[in-house]
Structures are given as C-alpha cells and as structure tokens.
C-alpha cells in the first residue's frame, strides 16, 4: 500500500512541476519559452564550470578505494566499531558515505544481494543510504560552481552531520530490528 503511494508520488512529482510552473508563468504573462532558454543557458555554463573540481575529487576518491586503502582504514577503526556494535561489513559503506553517492549505492545493493534486504546488515545499509547527502560531492560541486577554494569550517559541520547520521542509523537499527 505505502509502496504504491510512494511510487505514485515519485512518478508524479516531476511531471506536476513541469506542468504547474510553465502554466503559472503563462497566466502571469511570462514569455515562458524565452525565459526557459535564458535559464537553461545559465545551467549549461554552471555544469561545465564544475568539471575540474569534480575530476580532482573523483580521482582521489577512486584511487583511495581501488587501492584497498579504504579497507585498511576500516580495519584500523575496528576497536571503535566493536565498541559501538557496528558490523564490520558496513564500515566501507560508512567511510564512503560522505565521499561518493554512486559508490555507496552500489555497495548497499551488493550488501543487500549478499545478506538479503531484510537482514540486519541489509536494513542498516538501507537506512544509511537514505541518510545524509554526499558531503564531498555537494562541497565540490557547489563551491566549484562559484570558484570558492577555501571551504573553512563547512567540511567539519558536514562530516559531523554524517557521523551523527551513521550513529543514529545504527542505534535505530539495533532498537527496531536488532
């Protein structure tokens, strides 16, 4: 039931926006097509401007992951993860969460395939996937689009939110499904 409702919402959200906004503009006597093209052109330029930032970030993350350094970091963190009762399988996902959205989605899918979506690990991976955005992607892309290179404390506040999201997911998973 709920799945169907959610499916309908996600199917209709974008068509409705595409229907309502241009209609609204037309009623307000906006030259809708001309304004659309004007905005679209800005979008085009912005997307191209972030390429160098994203190349830098994705190369570093990819080297870190492919080389096995991520697994080493995971095993170094083992005393801490044992303390908070986090399964070892979930740690690579937790480390990647702030770094790369697509990598995490792939890892979550892999864990669900192996352990099943309704296992403890499957549920924890699902909750973590739905929690917090990819901090470094957002930082890179948003600041890249305006050429800001000094991020100041935003890295710390973003990461503290990520860690909170992880700990709360873990706690809830133990409480609800443990």
């Amino acid at each position: 039931m709920l799945v169907n409702v959610l499916n309908v919402i996600s199917q209709w959200a974008i068509p409705l926006l595409l229907l309502i906004i241009p209609l609204y503009g037309f009623i307000k006597k906006v030259p809708v097509y001309e304004k659309f093209v004007e905005g679209a052109e800005e979008g085009f330029r912005t997307a191209v401007r972030i390429i160098p930032f994203l190349v830098g970030m994705m190369v570093a993350i990819s080297v870190f992951r492919a080389s096995g350094a991520m697994m080493v970091l995971g095993s170094l963190l083992k005393p801490i993860t044992d303390l908070i009762a986090a399964p070892a399988e979930i740690m690579p996902l937790a480390i990647m969460r702030p770094l790369s959205g697509s990598a995490v989605l792939g890892m979550a899918a892999e864990l669900m395939k192996f352990h099943g979506p309704d296992s403890f690990i499957g549920r924890l991976a699902s909750i973590m996937q739905g929690t917090t955005d990819t901090t470094f992607f957002v930082l890179t892309v948003y600041f890249g689009s305006i050429g800001v290179t000094r991020y100041r404390y935003s890295v710390v506040s973003g990461l503290s939110a990520d860690i909170t999201g992880f700990l709360v997911s873990l706690y809830l998973c133990h409480r609800l499904f443990g």
Binding site: L17, I21, Y24, A40, M57, V63, G68, R152
Partner: protein, 196 residues
Amino acid sequence: MLNLIWLFLLVSGILVAAWHGNIEVVTSAALQAARDAVEVCLNLVGIMALWLGIMKIAESGGLVNALARLLRPLMVWLFPSVPPDHPAMGAIILNLSANVLGLGNAATPFGMKAMQHLDQINPRPGVASEAMCTFLAMNTSCITLLPATIIGVRASFNSANPTEIVGPCILATASAMVVGMSVDYWFRRRNRRRRR
C-alpha cells in the same frame, strides 16, 4: 582542510597499492575516475539546463518570491547575513524542498544557483562566507521524507517490506541536520567572538 583530505586520499591510496604490490591499480583507477567525472558533468548539463530553465519561469512569474515571503521568518533566522529580499533566499528554499522530496537531480541545480546568488554578496571572493557554510551544512544533512532510490533497490531485491526504513531514515536525517546546524552555529559564534 580540504587540501589535507585530498592529499590524504591520494597518498594513502598510492602507498597502500605499492605495499600490496599492485601499483597499476592506481593508474587505471585514476584515469577511469577522470573520465567518469566528465561524464557526470555532461549528464548534469542537460538536467541543469532543464531545471534552471523551469526555475527562471517560476522566478519571472513571481512564484519563487511568493515562496520566499512565506518562509521569510525562518530564512531570516537561519541566514542573518543575507538581506531578506535577496534572490538567494528563493533558490535556497527551492533546493531544500527538492532535497526533502528526494528529488536529488532537481536539488543540485537549485543549490548551485543559490551559491551563485550568495557569491554576489560574499565580501571575500574565493572564501566561503558564513551564509554559504550554513547552507552547505543544511544541504548535506537535509531531512529526507522520501528516500525513493533505496526503496526501489530494496523492492528489487524482494524485500518483504521495502518501506520499513522510511521512519528510521527521517529520524536519522533529522538528528544529522540538528547536529550539522549546531556545529555550524558554534563555528559562526566562535569566529564572531574572535573578530572582536
């Protein structure tokens, strides 16, 4: 900060690969990632153009301003350094609404637009302003009411109850948001005190 994290990712990756005796992984990973990054951006070109085009219509018709007026008390409280009528406010609201609804690919264009507006009132170009940091803290931890992607993945692996994770997700994102915003607030206060 970011310089160090970036360097750490690269250096530790290369050292571990060398230690494991398969240094060639670094080359292929780096080259592939560089190609992937451009592909991500190219995919983004069309989506950005579409959403910023739609946003321009909404802006010209006064829809964005109406929304901004509605949420004005909240926005002024969250972003004290931004003038209440500044166009950045509207773009921030659109970005957060898209995030809450789980429309990730609509959120990114609005977010970049908001950043460009915030940059116009940034006293130090190239350095993140207070409002930018607050916006980012909010953005990376934003409450998600509809984690549609992961529900889809769960359903595709035949979960007995794909949506059972929605409640925990909302709670976890809400706590992350509170902590992210509090940390941001603490830094802002500390920097102000130092400047005096």
